[in-house]
């Protein structure tokens, strides 16, 4: 019996693998030859897992609200080598955060573009480079972490990334060092072909007592239907302070899959923000493993959708040790026929006494046909913990509007103030002031463009 007949998604997976391999052979078949044996073996595992898991379907509980069938139909054409891309530094200036000081690594179609990047002076021992370069020059720093945190057994997209990633960023902050300016990773797509695919892979290691801010932007200079499938592994050592922000503003035809696997050590402080504005379909997976005692982890996110966009956030916060604090705050502003999905699972293991976990997901619907799906999931195996979750969806609060109007503020302005405030709740948690200001402006511009605001709900 052909197993594929029963599991069409596995048939699709094989098709995807074939396409990806074909591309590989036509491109640079030797590209992985000089990789260390451990990585080749991880890649092999990734391939096998992807073939086994296939692409998720709506029957998969974790993908109930997000149909990835359109992704499966794509051509999966990987960009295999550093090709001339024609992108100029000036062109990049249209994107947010480009005026910030600090290191900026630019990747075009998943390939490192050193000529567009700027490496400023860094504290001693801090390393910022492409992952491909790091594999060649710093294998001892890479090996303990790469492919050790992002799991391929439950997430087929991570498996696919592991099998086929070409490049991405490597950031290493040694013990006790603090990097003052945010380090930026900017992934730009110039895809001309429909079906172009990139699998960026990043590794961020912040050793004990270190401090760093990292911004990952996914932006577009393309009008094609392309696919980004990124994976970032983030390791925060004991007492490390890490702020991470993922900014996703791909074009409205594209598909974006982004996974963050964060491993947080004892008394570390990790905050990660996900700002999802673009893509036709985006899914952000966040896996936070709270692996040490007394740490604090904040997952903060804002999604803005319009037309027929879908923005999905899926997260698992895994409390493994006592006295851990986690907070999840996700707000969505949904216009037109768009859809927002939130799936937040909090897992408290038997050891994780005195856990304090909070989760909120709020959705503001700007049209009658917008949809929000929210699914909290608490799984608690310890008995002395505090876990709360709350979800709301609705339109602007009439009582708030009346309150503002009664203080002379005109209706339209009152509405805008409330929408802005709703986004502001999330943006104000960003610690880096310059980033916050850029985002404030940008989000506001997007909302202003959205004519739905002026339509009476």
């Amino acid at each position: 019996m052909n197993i594929n007949e029963n599991k069409p998604n596995v048939a699709l997976a094989n098709r995807v693998l074939d396409l990806s391999f074909n591309g590989k052979e036509q491109g640079s078949s030797e590209s992985n030859a000089d990789e260390p044996a451990w990585l080749l073996s991880d890649r092999e595992v990734g391939r096998a897992r992807f073939a086994e898991l296939g692409l998720p379907t709506l029957r998969d509980e974790d993908w109930r609200f997000t149909n990835v069938a359109p992704i499966a139909k794509m051509e999966f054409k990987p960009a295999l080598k550093r090709e001339p891309h024609g992108v100029t530094k000036k062109e990049l200036k249209q994107f947010p955060f480009t005026a910030l000081a600090g290191c900026q690594l630019v990747f075009v179609n998943g390939q490192f573009a050193p000529e567009l990047s700027s490496l400023t002076e860094l504290p001693e021992g801090v390393k910022v480079m492409s992952l491909a370069d790091a594999l060649a020059t710093e294998p001892a720093l890479v090996e303990p972490h790469l492919c050790r945190h992002a799991r391929t057994d439950t997430n087929s997209f991570t498996a696919l990334n592991t099998a086929f990633f070409q490049d991405g960023a490597f950031i290493y902050v040694p013990a006790g060092q603090a990097v003052a300016e945010p380090i930026q990773l900017r992934f730009v797509s110039t895809a001309k072909d429909h079906g172009a695919t990139a699998h960026p892979r990043n590794l961020i290691v912040a050793e004990r007592d270190s401090q760093v801010t990292v911004i990952e932007s996914y932006v577009s200079l393309s009008k094609a239907t392309y696919f980004t499938n990124s994976v970032t592994e983030l390791v925060a050592g004991e007492n490390a302070v890490v702020e991470h922000l993922k900014f996703q503003d791909e074009n409205q035809q594209s598909f974006h899959l982004g996974t963050l696997a964060a491993h947080c050590g004892r008394t570390s402080n990790v905050v990660t923000h996900s700002i999802a504005l673009g893509a036709k379909l985006s899914r952000t997976n966040i896996y936070a493993t709270l692996a040490g005692e007394g740490l604090e982890c904040v997952l903060n996110g804002l999604y803005l959708t319009r037309a027929e966009q879908l923005a999905d956030h899926y997260m698992i916060v895994d409390h493994a040790k006592p006295h851990g604090e986690s907070h999840e705050y996700f707000n969505g502003i949904l216009a037109d026929k768009s859809k927002g999905v939130f799936h937040g699972r909090i897992l408290v293991r038997p050891d994780a006494q005195k856990t304090d976990a909070k989760q909120t997901n709020k959705n503001l619907l700007l049209s009658d046909v917008a949809t929000a799906n929210t699914k909290p999931q608490l799984e608690i195996y310890a008995d002395d913990v505090k876990c709360t979750h709350g979800a709301t969806l609705g339109q602007l609060d009439d009582e708030c509007i009346f309150y503002l109007r009664s203080r002379s503020i005109p209706l339209e302005k009152a509405r805008r103030m409330l929408i802005q405030a709703f986004a502001g709740e999330i943006i104000e948690r960003i610690r880096c002031v310059a980033v916050r200001e850029d985002l404030d402006r940008l989000v506001w511009d997007r909302l202003e463009q959205n004519q739905q605001i002026t339509v009476n709900p």
């Binding site: 009582e399 309150y403 002379s408």
Partner: protein, 256 residues
Amino acid sequence: MKTPIISIQNLSADVEGRQILKGINLTIYPGETHAIMGPNGSGKSTLAAILAGRDGYNITGGEVIYGGQDLLALDPEERACEGVFLAFQYPVEIPGVNSTYFLRAGYNEIRKHRGLPELDAIEFLTFVKEKVKLLDLPEDLLRRPVNYGFSGGEKKRNEIFQMAVLEPKFAILDETDSGLDIDALKIVSNGVNTLKRSDNAQLVITHYQRLLNFIVPDFVHVLNDGRIVKSGGKELALELEETGYDGMIHETAAPA
């Protein structure tokens, strides 16, 4: 003869088909403080809400003339620009909207309406810091979101603080005293008394006579079942304290 600030004539209104106000008549002149007292469900808060322009009420009769205009034809923000102010019984928490930003937006709308230049952030801050002292409110309130995480007493004081900033011509205080301890009550009353001038007026809605020890009204009206059943001077409040609403309402209802 003086022109009234507001003149309510035979005002009737219903909510979802239920008649709440059944012909209210009330005229208030500059420099006056009027108190409206009445039991729960008598229509006090409905009257306040209608005057401020809240949605959801159906005016079935009568009119309200304010500064020569048909008040009920104006949007809430237009009324506010014309100097109507409602201190909410339940002030709304607005997370994410900074108190100073919010208040400056409102204040500048009023200035624009009066043909005055708007105040920039720094000018406004200097101006409000004076007002904050009046209500004995912590200055950090200005940096916090509107009413967000405020205690009940802070919310009520914040209402009067906003009143001090916006300097209304006609202020309606909807049960501002409810839930206040005596110290907070004194602060709020002192704020309201300080804001009283010969060219403005106040309508104080309350359930309890206690407030009127601190804000002394020129006139007291007793509202019951959508009608003003008795009007008098400040002594009426004391009488009410003795007889209770039941006693007074029966006494007035019987001979009619």
